[in-house]
């Protein structure tokens, strides 16, 4: 997968991440949380290119080791954590970045509420992920794939509203998903985990959402 996708393991790679933060007009010096930061490649490059103060979290064991192994001018703050239980105080981040992650989280409502909790009022959620239209359930052959966990678009929009977010921008980047699938094929791996079949074929969307200006949601 890394041969096909590089160190930013999501469709669009770092190019899409950089495009997203420009679109969201995130200011230099902003504190950003990268959920599912993996090897911290995106964090390192966003810090170097945009001057953001990056914090990351991931379920992968000891992500701090991956961070320390990187050649970066400033230390990265990385925590081993679950997206449904973020180990951060309320209202500490200017933006939360989630790239091809939430579709794999069992309780999306919980994860979105946590995103809202750690964001300052007026903060920004930058989310790119797999989405599908309502259709017949996916076949058994893709039941365990990423495509099978793609968000139902209408339900996810509702979940965002419930969590206190307002979508201000949406872009389709399905081409990036297809290109990643193509790279997997060239690398000799199966692309079925990303592609699904028929009406279950996912799209890849970038959403920029802001927090509704309200009282900070307390930690539950």
């Amino acid at each position: 997968m890394r041969i096909a996708a590089g160190d930013s393991l999501h469709p669009g790679g770092y190019s899409l991440s950089a495009h997203a933060v420009r679109l969201a007009e995130i200011k230099r010096g902003a504190r950003i949380l990268d959920i599912g930061c993996g090897r911290c490649e995106t964090m390192r490059r966003l810090h170097a290119d945009f001057g953001f103060l990056m914090t990351g979290c991931d379920l992968a064991p000891r992500p701090a080791e991956a961070a320390s192994a990187l050649d970066c001018a400033a230390p990265l703050h990385v925590a081993a954590a679950d997206a449904m239980r973020l180990p951060f105080a309320d209202a500490v981040f200017d933006a939360v970045l989630s790239e091809c992650v939430l579709s794999l989280v069992p309780d999306k409502d919980k994860a979105l509420r946590e995103c809202r909790r750690v964001l300052k009022n007026g903060g920004t959620l930058i989310l790119s992920d797999l989405f599908r239209q309502p259709c017949a359930p996916p076949s058994a052959s893709v039941a365990e794939s990423c495509a099978a966990h793609a968000h139902n678009e209408a339900e996810f929009q509702t979940a965002l509203s419930r969590a206190g977010f307002r979508v201000i921008h949406k872009e389709d980047h399905t081409k990036a998903l297809r290109e990643l699938a193509a790279r997997l094929v060239f690398a000799g791996e199966s692309a079925s985990a990303l592609t699904g079949a028929g009406c279950a074929r996912p799209r890849y969307q970038l959403l920029i959402a802001t927090t509704a200006l309200q009282e900070t949601i307390s930690h539950e």
């Binding site: 590089g6 193509a182 790279r183 094929v185 690398a187 000799g188 592609t195």
Partner: protein, 71 residues
């Protein structure tokens, strides 16, 4: 993005008919429907002519084309 190795066979015995030079594995950019991929393919180091083996064309490349066409 790094150059992907897409072939396992050795094509070093193949020669370019124009240049008479043995082919070498070289980075090649493939383009289809505005998507670009850097792969390693046997090519002539003199004139740059690239060899695309039939099983690659009918196998991985055909699958990639289908993916990009969203069929």
């Amino acid at each position: 993005m790094s150059t992907m190795k897409v072939l396992n066979q050795d094509f070093s015995q193949w020669k370019c008919t124009l240049c008479g030079v043995n082919l070498k594995p070289m980075p090649v950019e493939l383009e289809y429907l505005d998507s670009h991929f850097n792969v390693e393919l046997p090519a002539c180091p003199e004139c740059g002519q690239v060899l695309i083996p039939e099983d690659l064309a009918l196998g991985k490349m055909a699958e990639v084309e289908s993916l990009l066409e969203d069929k």
